[in-house]
């Protein structure tokens, strides 16, 4: 768990992060979204004290981050960044072993951990352990970067635009893999991104930042349907809203009995993908793998339901546009 209390960072008398409070529950993913210069990266870097807060507190579990020497704190917190930052002069295995070695693990322990992580990230240890980073593809480098961040089994993982340098196809896969690994390990994850799509896909909670302030912090559905300010609304993009909402729900959740012609969709795929498939194949319904169907009517009903909810709250929102900070957590 991470608890951030009234965190502020001032550079040259300008607050870059301004009185931000939020809590990320254990095992949850919080996505920090905002334009460049919004303070999201500074906020992230204050969690492992790469940037020292001007005021405010950070709790990692039950520990006040300010009470630990910065380098020791950072060894407890995983950190992965855009462009992976792998050490070019060390092999993949040595890169992953960095923090365990700093922590003084025994050699067999480290070797076993490296092996385990390479398996976890679908990189054959025999093939990859002794390669140099520049011999890997971009996607592989990125996976090694995340594996390295997770090497010492940190409770908390911080990621700064980790997929920013990947092309769209590989990025989508990397996001899926990260989600799965995070669920399996139960790591608390804070991820910085400028891509609302990515935030909606990955985040249990989304924090929207602008000019150093936290504008809204809540589950993706709440951010999409009840944007607290015009800025949040603009960031979501009104045209994209129905699709983003649909992407939050899995096909399995609206599966109906019956039969239907056409190519089957996976129950794990999102409603958004199912809608795309229906439109593309020109059908009103499609079969779901493992039985049942998904219908265009049901999809439309879902989207309309969400719209109605959004319209209802839009009225409220006009009266109270005060930013909701932190309140939605937990």
């Amino acid at each position: 768990m991470i608890r951030i209390e009234n965190l502020t960072r001032i550079y040259d008398r300008t607050p870059v992060v301004n009185d931000v409070s939020l809590t990320v529950g254990a095992g949850q993913i919080a996505a920090l979204v905002g334009t460049s210069g919004s303070g999201k990266t500074t906020l992230l870097r204050m969690i492992n004290r790469l940037v020292e807060p001007t005021s405010g507190r950070i709790w990692i579990g039950e520990t006040d981050a300010a009470t630990i020497a910065p380098h020791l704190l950072r060894r407890r917190i995983g950190y992965a960044i855009q462009g992976h930052g792998l050490f070019p002069h060390r092999t993949v295995g040595q890169n992953i072993a960095t923090v365990p070695r700093l922590l003084g693990w025994s050699a067999p322990e480290i070797a076993a951990r490296v092996e385990e992580l390479l398996h976890l990230f679908q990189l054959d240890p025999a093939q990859f352990r002794d390669r140099m980073p520049h011999e890997l593809s971009g996607g592989q480098q990125q996976r090694v970067g995340v594996a390295r961040a997770l090497a010492a089994r940190p409770e908390v993982l911080l990621m700064d635009e980790p997929f920013g340098a990947l092309d769209p196809v590989i990025r989508a896969r990397a996001q899926g893999d990260l989600r799965e690994i995070q669920r399996r390990l139960g790591t608390t994850l804070v991820i910085v991104t400028h891509d609302m799509e990515e935030a909606v896909t990955l985040g249990d909670r989304i924090a929207v930042m602008d000019k150093g302030r936290l504008l809204q912090y809540g589950p993706p559905a709440e951010i999409l349907t009840r944007p607290a300010t015009d800025f949040v609304q603009a960031l979501i993009g009104t045209g994209e809203r129905p699709f983003r909402l649909l992407s939050l729900t899995r096909v399995a959740d609206i599966r109906e009995d019956g039969t239907c012609d056409g190519p089957a969709v996976s129950p794990e795929s999102s409603l958004r993908d199912a809608l795309a498939a229906c439109l593309w194949h020109g059908r009103d319904c499609l079969p779901v793998e493992g039985g049942g169907i998904v219908t265009l009517t049901a999809l439309r009903a879902r989207a309309e339901g969400a719209r109605a909810e959004a319209m209802a709250t839009a009225g409220e929102g006009a009266q109270s546009k005060a930013p909701q900070t932190g309140g939605a957590a937990q």
Binding site: Y11, D12, L50, V51, E52
Partner: protein
């Protein structure tokens, strides 16, 4: 990331925090005050008596106090760079004036044997204030025009110090006075060596570089030969030139009439010329090859001939790189020309090696200081030109 730490420490540092560079200059200056300012020597070979600043001249205590004040005043971190520069220049002037006045006071009337030579204390004070000035200037991040002005100001300051007669009684200037004619001749020879070899290298090297660019098959051969030339130590290259051109002058009809000779300045000039070829040729090549292919293609696309593309597009764009070669060659040749003094080629090397032979420090200085001064001016002036030229190239649409 480290910038953050800087600003963090900068923020916590108090109003009276001390500048670390200031502390270094103060330490150097303090050492300079603690060491003797000048050596008084009954003649120019013997070691002589050491004299400290306070005792070396009338009001020496005042000069020492002023210098200490300047060093002390430059300590606070918050001091503006302009003020720091002013303190440094003031310090330099006081240090030079102390040297000159000490020499004036100490030199016995009519004695042509005695010498008052600058000693470790003078050099350290000079170094401290020169570094302080350099530091202040570097932090002011002056523009091109300002830097030209600073260069001109520096030259003016040196000219004033020498021209005013203030330093006339110091050992180096006494040596100078005894050989003013020879000095003038050496200066001309030195400049001829440095600029003459540069000119020849440009005349030969530019076409050679263009040729190597047009005919890629030639590149490797040309560059390896020039690289080999570069590895021959200067002393040996100068030495080989003597018999080589002696032979040429004696055996090839007409060569001697053209000025080719195995003695005098000619072999030295040729040695420097050979050293200059590599930077000129390789930079011409690099400059031409680094012109963006799109630019070249566009020029061809506009219907220019190969010659026009070379003359109007590629060469102008390669100019900053070629000018950088001129800088390398000129600075290098001003330094290497000293060695000509060893093979009778003239130049300031004459004084340096004469001084070394006679263990006469002042004579060595008479050769070395102008050489360093020339190299400095050439280096800075050409650096500024290269920068101006490449900036113009970049801002051009």
């Amino acid at each position: 990331m480290t910038d953050l730490q800087i600003s963090a420490t900068g923020g916590t540092a108090g109003r009276f925090a001390l500048s670390r560079t200031g502390l270094l200059f103060a330490a150097l200056g303090a050492a300079g005050l603690a060491l003797p300012l000048v050596q008084f020597k009954p003649n120019r070979i013997v070691l002589g008596d050491a004299l400290w600043l306070p005792g070396a001249l009338p009001f020496g205590w005042l000069a020492a106090a002023l210098i200490a004040c300047a060093l002390f005043a430059a300590l606070p971190q918050r001091l503006s760079h302009g003020l720091r520069l002013a303190l440094a220049v003031a310090g330099l002037v006081i240090t030079l004036a102390s040297l000159g006045l000490a020499a004036k006071g100490l030199m016995p009337e009519g004695n042509r044997m005695a010498r008052v030579a600058p000693a470790a204390g003078f050099w350290l004070l000079f170094l401290a204030f020169a570094l302080m000035a350099a530091d202040a200037l570097a932090r002011m991040r002056p523009g091109l025009k300002t830097r030209w002005a600073v260069l001109a100001g520096g030259i003016l300051l040196v000219g004033l110090a020498l021209g005013s007669g203030l330093l006339d009684q110091t050992s180096v200037m006494v040596e100078y006075a005894a050989r003013a004619d020879l000095f003038g001749r050496s200066l001309r020879q030195h400049l001829l060596l440095a600029f003459g070899s540069l000119g020849m290298a440009l005349v030969v090297g530019l076409p050679l570089g263009i040729l190597a660019f047009q005919v890629p098959a030639l590149r490797r051969a040309v560059l390896s030969v020039l690289n080999l030339l570069q590895t021959i130590p200067s002393l040996a290259l100068f030495g080989i030139m003597i018999p080589l051109f002696g032979w040429v002058a004696a055996n090839i009809p007409g060569a001697a009439q053209l000025g080719v000779a195995g003695i005098g300045i000619f072999p030295a000039l040729m040695a420097l010329f050979f050293y200059s070829l590599l930077p000129v040729v390789s930079n011409t090549l690099v400059g031409l090859t680094s012109v963006a292919p799109e630019v070249r293609d566009a020029a061809f696309g506009l219907g220019m001939t190969r010659g026009q593309v070379l003359a109007r597009v590629q060469l102008p764009l390669a100019l900053p790189v070629v000018l950088a070669a001129v800088r390398i060659v000129l600075v290098q040749n001003i330094g290497l020309a000293v060695i000509a003094g060893l093979i009778g080629g003239g130049g300031f090397g004459t004084f340096v090696f004469q001084g070394l032979n006679q263990t006469a420090m002042d004579l060595i200085l008479l050769g070395a200081l102008p050489t360093i001064f020339l190299a400095l001016i050439a280096g800075i002036a050409l650096d500024l030109s290269v920068e101006a030229l490449s900036r113009r190239g970049r801002s051009a649409p």
